[in-house]
Symmetry: C2
């Protein structure tokens, strides 16, 4: 009994060892340079050993992705302090843009790459991290509407529109679609302008 427990603990330790190495590699060299062989080399194991602890590379990437969501959640902790739901929404948008621009690799994994989604679809479970984030957004919007600060509309519609816009801005920027339109030092300001415009426009007069 004690033995099987220790074995399980060791197994979890190696799993964590693999994930830590993956994360480091991921942050240092970027998504596209993360390979099973490179991860294995970092922890001095054979490449195939990773397959004893994870089904495939997608599963490893999924965990890196989850860790990205934690990072984002961490950044949003301070939102709870903001009483005004409209200001809170604004700050949440700013946080989102900043997160995307400062952690493009994480952002990629969380919202663009299909590797993490592939693993989610194989398992039954839904995309809890993403659901949670959108739920959070919906609650703020609902609160703002209830307090008569926003023009009334279907909450889902508005939430999707807002998320869509900030995601669109971040992904256009990180995928270099705005490079020739906006000089890089103006990029952040320009994106914030668009966010400000949206919030101002949807605000009740």
């Amino acid at each position: 009994m004690g033995i099987v427990a220790r074995k399980e603990k060791q197994k979890q330790e190696i799993r964590q060892l693999i994930l830590d190495a993956s994360m480091k590699l991921f942050v240092e060299e970027g998504f596209s340079h993360v390979s099973v062989r490179k991860i294995a080399e970092r922890i001095q194991y054979s490449p195939t050993t990773l397959y004893l602890y994870f089904k495939d590379k997608n599963e490893i990437l999924f965990h890196c992705c989850e860790s990205g969501f934690e990072k984002m959640l961490e950044q949003n902790r301070s939102l709870a302090l903001i009483g005004n739901p409209l200001e809170r929404l604004h700050q949440m948008g700013i946080n989102y843009l900043n997160f995307g621009l400062t952690n493009p690799e994480y952002y990629d994994l969380m919202f663009i790459q299909d590797a993490p989604m592939a693993r989610i679809n194989e398992m039954g479970e839904g995309w809890s991290s993403g659901d949670q984030a959108l739920e959070f957004l919906k609650i703020i919007i609902k609160e703002a509407m209830d307090k008569d600060l926003l023009i009334p509309a279907k909450v889902e519609t508005v939430a999707l529109a807002v998320w869509g816009m900030v995601h669109g801005l971040v992904s256009l920027a990180t995928r270099q679609r705005l490079d020739k339109l906006v000089s890089s030092h103006e990029m952040e300001q320009t994106m914030h302008d668009s966010l400000d415009w949206l919030l101002k426009t949807m605000k009740k007069a």
Copy 2:
């Protein structure tokens, strides 16, 4: 003189042969299954021959990307018939969403993958297709503001916001980030709802 011209013509023919094969492969099997070897096999040439006509795979993909823009432009031809700039903007948004959802592979190449941008950055030239499309959007928005149909604001800011939103919606949908939130048969309607909401909200009362 006639000889060197014929030679040049033949060279262009093979270039086109390669591009046609790439496009077919691209449409039939999707972006991720397009490989230099597969393209070569389709036209009965050795893989390395492609490198005599194109610098690298990115350059081939860039041309597929351009062809996607033509397809999109084609779809937008009918916009010219719409007199009201607000209605024109609306239809343009609908077209954009439809294009993205019905041609996810093209959309990917045009707005998400970095392969085509890599080739553009290597050459000096800017992203003319993208610039052109955004310019088109800006003109409509400006016209709507001039005709007092929209709440006045900086045109660039609004254009980027609108583009950002539709792009965000399409890319979230095609990258499966909305699967567990919106059932697939409702997807299109939900996205259209968000677009409608935005246009209605930014419209002058």
